[in-house]
């Protein structure tokens, strides 16, 4: 311990020295502004592009792998427009399919789950077609995906909507010819505060234990709630280190997003243009 601390401290000091050295070359006011700007961007980017953040598990991390992965993601994003979307948004995915007529397949559905980091990022779309619930899991960087359209951009109250499987079918039914709903420019992403009505038990999961916000009263006997209360772990939110190990520190996020920022910016601009164009299209049709 004694031997390692000074060495570590030294390297850290050197790092900081370098950081300050770059900062002092520019006028005094600018760096502060720049710093706050990049911080702001990070705050935005991590919501829009969460898959650019690496797996926070320390054993699995490697800077070179992460760098290669990011460059591949950017290379793929240059060929396909992967828009901003959230769990709860309604998407239409067009993908190459060998077996469908015209060799293309379009699926409309609500995004009920979004997970994975890097090239493994994926999302789960759900729809009810002919009274039959259908779910398709798409890899975001799959080269067979021709395009992703956001038909309705919104968030829900929960981070996962897997309970829609046990909800009444009307909550996950979407018209496949649905038109794009345009948000006014610069408006924040709306949060849909709809409360879903679940079917009576049996369910696929014990939803009363998941602390869900987007469901109506579950109408269960009291013993279910008692058991859920027994299994709660209220101390876990105070475990600072557990929290820390599930996140990527801000310094690293700034580094990552400043690296990919220019590329993302370019694709983001293209995205906006495209959205405007698609706005024109339906009016023509109508």
């Amino acid at each position: 311990m004694l031997s390692t601390t000074p060495r570590l401290a030294l390297s850290r000091q050197l790092k900081n020295f370098r950081r300050f050295a770059t900062a002092t070359t520019t006028p005094a006011e600018q760096p502060v502004k720049d710093k706050s700007d990049t911080r702001k961007n990070v705050l935005e980017y991590r919501q829009i592009y969460p898959e650019f953040l690496p797996d926070p598990k320390i054993e699995f991390r490697n800077p070179i792998r992460e760098k290669l992965e990011r460059s591949d993601m950017i290379a793929r994003r240059a060929n396909v427009d992967i828009p901003e979307f959230y769990v709860g948004s309604v998407l239409a995915v067009t993908s190459a399919d060998r077996h469908s007529p015209g060799k293309l397949h379009r699926f409309v559905g609500i995004c009920i789950k979004r997970e994975g980091c890097g090239l493994r990022a994926n999302f789960l779309l759900r729809n009810v077609i002919d009274h039959q619930g259908v779910e398709i899991l798409y890899d975001m960087y799959d080269p067979t995906i021709k395009g992703i359209e956001v038909l309705r951009l919104e968030k829900r109250l929960d981070n996962e909507l897997l309970y829609l499987r046990d909800a009444l079918p009307e909550y996950s039914t979407f018209d496949s010819n649905m038109e794009i709903e345009i948000l006014p420019e610069g408006a924040p992403v709306p949060v849909n505060e709809i409360k879903v009505k679940l079917k009576p038990r049996p369910w696929l999961d014990r939803w009363e234990r998941k602390n869900l916000k987007g469901v109506q009263d579950l109408e269960l006997p009291q013993r279910f709630y008692d058991r859920a209360k027994e299994l709660e772990t209220p101390w876990e939110k105070y475990d600072l280190m557990k929290q820390y190990m599930r996140t990527v520190p801000e310094e690293e996020q700034v580094e990552i997003f400043s690296e990919v920022q220019t590329h993302l910016h370019r694709s983001g601009a293209a995205q906006k243009l495209k959205r405007k164009r698609t706005f024109v299209k339906p009016t023509k049709l109508a």
């Binding site: 311990m1 570590l8 401290a9 898959e51 797996d55 926070p56 699995f60 980091c117 600072l240 820390y244």
Partner: protein, 190 residues
């Protein structure tokens, strides 16, 4: 799956983070483990230097660092940070110390906020002991600062070696320059 949580932003810790957290042999489960750590963190903030078993010191060091870094980052007007401070500091007057004394003290630090030394253990015991302290504490330093002691024998020897090495290097460079000048002048003569 393995995706980073994005709801919270944290500053990077300046201490090594173990890949797995220790269980610390707590009979009451994870809740009791946190209780144990709370006591240690409170004691550290209160006394600024404590001696304890190594595993517990190493574990509570990370928690203390997190608490201080959050206090610096968000300040005392942030509700979640205040809740954390309220949970982690059993003696409530220490909450004031955290936000009004420690946060200003460490705000410009570029190193870790705590320091840990291995401590000797008394003979029949074989448990590894450690001393954990906050940096900038009022106590005298535990180890003498020898980093700039030029009179240590190996530093003296290295200084001499450095002189000899440099002179040799300069001589070689000078010889090279001379040779180059000679060749240039010879060419000019021709």
């Amino acid at each position: 799956m393995n995706q980073a949580e994005i709801s919270k932003l944290v500053s990077q810790l300046r201490v090594r983070v173990n890949p797995r957290l220790r269980k610390l042999k707590s009979a009451g489960g994870p809740e009791a483990r946190l209780d144990k750590l709370r006591k240690t963190v409170t004691a550290l903030i209160k006394h600024e230097r404590i001696e304890l078993n190594y595993p517990r010191a190493d574990e509570s060091r990370m928690y203390a660092e997190r608490l201080i870094s959050d206090a610096i980052r968000y300040g005392d007007c942030h509700r979640e940070t205040m809740e954390m401070a309220d949970f982690w500091l059993i003696e409530k007057q220490l909450v004031h110390k955290l936000f009004k004394v420690l946060a200003p003290r460490f705000v410009n630090y570029s190193t870790a906020y705590t320091r840990m030394y291995t401590a000797p253990s008394v003979y029949p015991e074989v448990v590894k002991r450690a001393v954990l302290e906050l940096r900038g504490n009022p106590y005298p330093s535990l180890v003498p600062d020898m980093h700039n002691n030029r009179n240590l024998i190996h530093n003296v020897l290295l200084d001499e070696a450095k002189k000899a090495y440099r002179t040799q290097k300069y001589e070689e460079i000078a010889a090279k320059i001379d040779a180059a000048e000679k060749s240039v002048s010879e060419e000019a003569r021709k």
